[in-house]
């Protein structure tokens, strides 16, 4: 799986969780907070995306991430671990 594909999964779930955001308009360099997500939204986006990617990243590894791109990197690391 490519990083782009991971980003697409995250973007899709951000859009599904918000009122007026289109997946295509999401910039991975931004944080979900920039798109109006509160913590409950982020829990939902992260847990739905992890289920979809069939990975489980410990919460402690997610607390220091600053933007969607970094979240995708973290997810990709686990996707690759699963394949390796």
């Amino acid at each position: 799986m490519t990083k782009e594909a991971v980003i697409e999964v995250i973007k899709k779930n951000i859009a599904a969780n918000s009122d007026d955001i289109d997946a295509a308009g999401i910039d991975p360099q931004k944080s979900m907070k920039d798109y109006g997500a509160n913590s409950l939204d982020m829990i939902e986006v992260v847990s739905t995306s992890m289920r979809e990617l069939k990975i489980k990243v410990p919460r402690s590894e997610l607390t220091d991430l600053n933007n969607i791109d970094q979240l995708a990197d973290k997810f990709l690391e686990y996707v690759n671990k699963g394949n390796g």
Partner: protein, 249 residues
């Protein structure tokens, strides 16, 4: 007039209580609860209200518990003030219509299901998110949510913590009276309220009392089991950590 609660009464007997805490986003701060209860006291004292429309802000009906109250529960302190809201909505001598234009989350959803008639918005989200934060549901959810949405959907909502859009609930055969576009929610509430206000005030109050008997019982049942589960689930160290990390500021 209080800062967070806007109260208006029409000569017809329809009153409107708008929860309008722009800063706190309608979460249960001590001030929010006090002003909410004062507003209900005032309506009861004046004895002119035949039916109450309870609404919130356009995007947030009610947000539920305050972070500090949850952390107090982690410390083993009893926090009972939130629960009084539910009791009062069930006990007031007039029917209450919940016009939930905006999201209703956790205890905020409980405020909705303690009302007599419930109108939701397609665009908004309704969720019993307690378990996502690590602890078991409260505010009457374990007995009364099933009354509103049906027992199996209530289980799904409580176990998963998922916030359902009104549009998702619409197709599920819940007992929510109406799921409408957000812009039509308050108008529908008024339509129903005006029909009720044509009726005799004494009979309205008698009927409210009779129809509330079961709700009161369910709230008491909920209180017992929810208090017990809270004493256990709030004592998990993980729960405190989850609340501290994840609860919206």
């Amino acid at each position: 007039m209080s800062e967070r609660m806007k109260l208006a009464s029409e000569p017809s007997g329809v009153s409107v209580l708008k929860m309008d805490d722009a800063k706190g986003r309608n979460i249960f701060s001590a001030e929010f609860i006090t002003e909410f209860l004062h507003a209900l006291d005032e309506l009861e004292r004046e004895r002119r209200t035949k039916v109450l429309i309870l609404c919130g802000q356009q995007d947030v009906f009610c947000g539920g518990a305050e972070k500090q109250a949850l952390l107090d529960l982690c410390d083993g302190k009893a926090v009972v003030r939130d629960l009084v809201l539910c009791e009062r909505l069930v006990e007031v001598p007039f029917p209450v219509i919940a016009a939930m234009e905006g999201h209703a989350i956790g205890g905020g959803l409980a405020v909705g299901f303690c009302c007599d008639i419930v109108i939701a918005a397609r665009e908004s989200r309704y969720g019993a998110v307690f378990m996502s934060l690590g602890f078991t549901p409260g505010m009457g959810c374990t007995t009364l949510l099933a009354e509103l949405v049906g027992p199996y959907l209530a289980s799904e909502m409580m176990f998963t913590g998922k916030r359902f859009r009104g549009s998702e609930l619409e197709g599920k055969g819940t007992h929510i009276n109406y799921v409408l576009p957000r812009t039509e929610v308050v108008a529908k509430a008024w339509d129903i309220a005006e029909q009720i206000a044509e009726k005799d005030a004494r009979s309205i109050s008698l009927l409210k009392h009779a129809l509330s008997v079961n709700k009161k019982k369910l709230l008491v049942d909920a209180r017992h089991q929810e208090d017990l589960m809270h004493r256990i689930s709030f004592s998990f160290p993980e729960t405190r950590r989850t609340i501290q990390e994840l609860y919206p500021e």
